[in-house]
Amino acid sequence: MTFILRRLVQAIPVIILASIPIFLILHAAPGDPALMLAGEDAPDSVVAAIKRELRLDQPLVIQYVTWLGDLVRGDMGKSFLSGAPVSLLISQRLPATIELALTAMTLSVLIAIPLGALAAIHRGKLVDKLITVGTTFGIAVPNFWIGILLVLLFGLLFHLLPAGGRVSFQEDPFQAVRFLILPSLTLAIALSANLIRFVRASMLEVLPQDFVRTARSKGLRPRVVIFRHALRNSLIPMLTVLGVQFGRLLAGSIIIESIFTWPGIGSLMLTAIRSRDFPVIQGTLALFMFIVIFTNLLTDMLYGVIDPRIRLRGK
């Protein structure tokens, strides 16, 4: 319990550190936001009123503290463009992004476990070498190019799957899956390449251990030894890798959403950046920040629960 509390307290300075650049976006970016909102020809009184409303007339530290306080309570201000609350805009787009990220994550686990195990079992042989070279491709080749190639092949050339857009599951589950396949697969490739390497490495660590040898010498079939004994034990640490990779997956979704015109947080953020809609930029960046810090924290705690050595270290 004290371990969890300690990690929570440690997260506070991280949140403060990470939130400062997000807060400063409004001030550091070129141009006066109040003037931008009011229009170039607006009278000084209108600009001053907007400044007061946005609290731009107060000292920077006060502005930051109020901004962070509002943020923690879920108040991210209003969009410069539409006037709608940023939290509302985000809540409308969040389901699409979560759907994409979770599907990609599930896909990558489904790809990585069998391939990683296969490579480990056939260590040094052709299968292993092919899979290892494949993972280098998956990690090195930029995923947005893979996405474009998939659109080109399956969307435009063979007309098998839609090239972009989204249909929600409530509307039409069959179409929803068809629209989901290409973007989630694109997003899953890099992650699964990383996971394959991880599964392979941890399987190689587990395979020579005593309990595996015992299982073998008991006369269990190789399949049972691999799946029920070796694989299961090598998968526990994978949970933590998934936690750390989740943030990266979300960041990757920004580009993928743009390729597949997926109406999620990423496309909301990009539209906001292009139109200099600062509250929306700050809100979406802060959301990413919270998710990254939260999943890292969760991963740390999970690791502590699994491995007591981590929990007791530094006591």
């Binding site: 550190l17 650049p21 976006i25 090195a140 080749v141 947005f144 190019w145 943030g247 580009i255 292009r274």
Partner: protein, 295 residues
């Protein structure tokens, strides 16, 4: 005492030379280097000699030459504004590599300095730097890149700055870990006992021993920086048109995927080839310098 220090210096120089000779021998002997090394060398040469190799200006628009297929005049065809695709791709590779090298150099120097200081002195300095770096490291590159693009404005230079910022904690962490592992070893303590100052111990004794690990990581950061630049440019937040950036070219190609798919294939394939060559090269470098794999 004076004689002793002269002797140790000579000895140190001797081992250093043999160390670099050993590295060179490893590079030549290890055949895993051959394919990625030669590919990378050719790609780098082709990219940096682009102005000499291509007869076309990569930004010059020619009316009437739009979306031409591959031909004798234009080996890879032309884009929607009549610009030669091969020229643009080569110049794009040059920009990509330049940004990768600049970001790796700046991030490398800063990361190395921070890592050396944090690892050697530890204590409160290490605590503060460690917390700062961990925070930075937790954030996906693209998020940092987008934040920098919003604050500083979209440009190729700012993409390089963003990539450099991301490289700092990566290099710093590996340097710090290396220094902590090495500084209590006998040769380091012997240097301290002989009166060598902090700077001398760090740069002449400890650094050469952790150089291989840092080199591998630096090679990879070049690739990561190139991916970030391409990604930001693809989103319109990096290099700006008409600058020939592979990311910009990929974005432009999306409007003509049906009629001119090669516009999307060529820049992506050249970027991927570069990244793969760097990646395999880094793998070979790691295997050659890792004592566990050297056998």
């Amino acid at each position: 005492m004076k004689i002793l220090s002269v002797k140790t210096e000579k000895k140190a120089e001797g081992t250093r030379r043999s160390g670099s000779q050993r590295l060179r021998r490893l590079l030549i002997r290890n055949r895993d280097f051959l394919l990625p090394g030669i590919t990378l060398l050719i790609l780098i040469l082709v990219a940096f000699l682009a102005p000499l190799l291509t007869p076309y200006d990569p930004t010059k628009q020619v009316y009437g030459d739009e979306l031409l297929g591959p031909s004798f005049q234009h080996w890879l065809g032309t884009d929607a504004l009549g610009r030669d695709l091969l020229s643009r791709t080569l110049f794009g590779m040059r920009l990509s590599l330049t940004i990768g090298l600049v970001a790796a150099t700046i991030g490398g120097i800063l990361g190395l300095s921070i890592g050396l200081a944090a690892g050697y002195y530890e204590g409160w300095l290490d605590d503060i730097l460690g917390r700062l770096l961990d925070t930075l490291l937790a954030f996906p590159a693209l998020i940092v890149g987008l934040t920098v693009a919003v604050i500083l404005g979209p440009s190729a230079l700012n993409a390089a700055i963003a990539a450099a910022i991301i490289n700092i904690p990566i290099i710093a962490r590996i340097t710090r870990a290396g220094i902590i592992g090495e500084k209590d070893r006998e040769y380091s303590q012997a240097a301290v006992a002989l009166g060598a100052g902090d700077g001398r111990v760090l740069l002449k004794h400890l650094l050469p021993n952790i150089t291989p690990a840092i080199l591998v990581q630096l090679t990879l950061t070049i690739a990561h920086s190139m991916i970030l630049e391409a990604g930001l440019s693809f989103l319109g937040l990096g290099a700006q048109p008409p600058e020939p950036s592979l990311g910009v070219m990929l974005q432009n190609a999306r409007s003509y995927m049906r009629d001119a798919p090669w516009l999307a294939v060529v820049p992506g394939a050249s970027l991927s080839l570069l990244l793969l060559a760097i990646s395999f090269f880094a793998d070979a470098l790691r295997d050659a310098t890792d004592p566990r794999k050297r056998g």
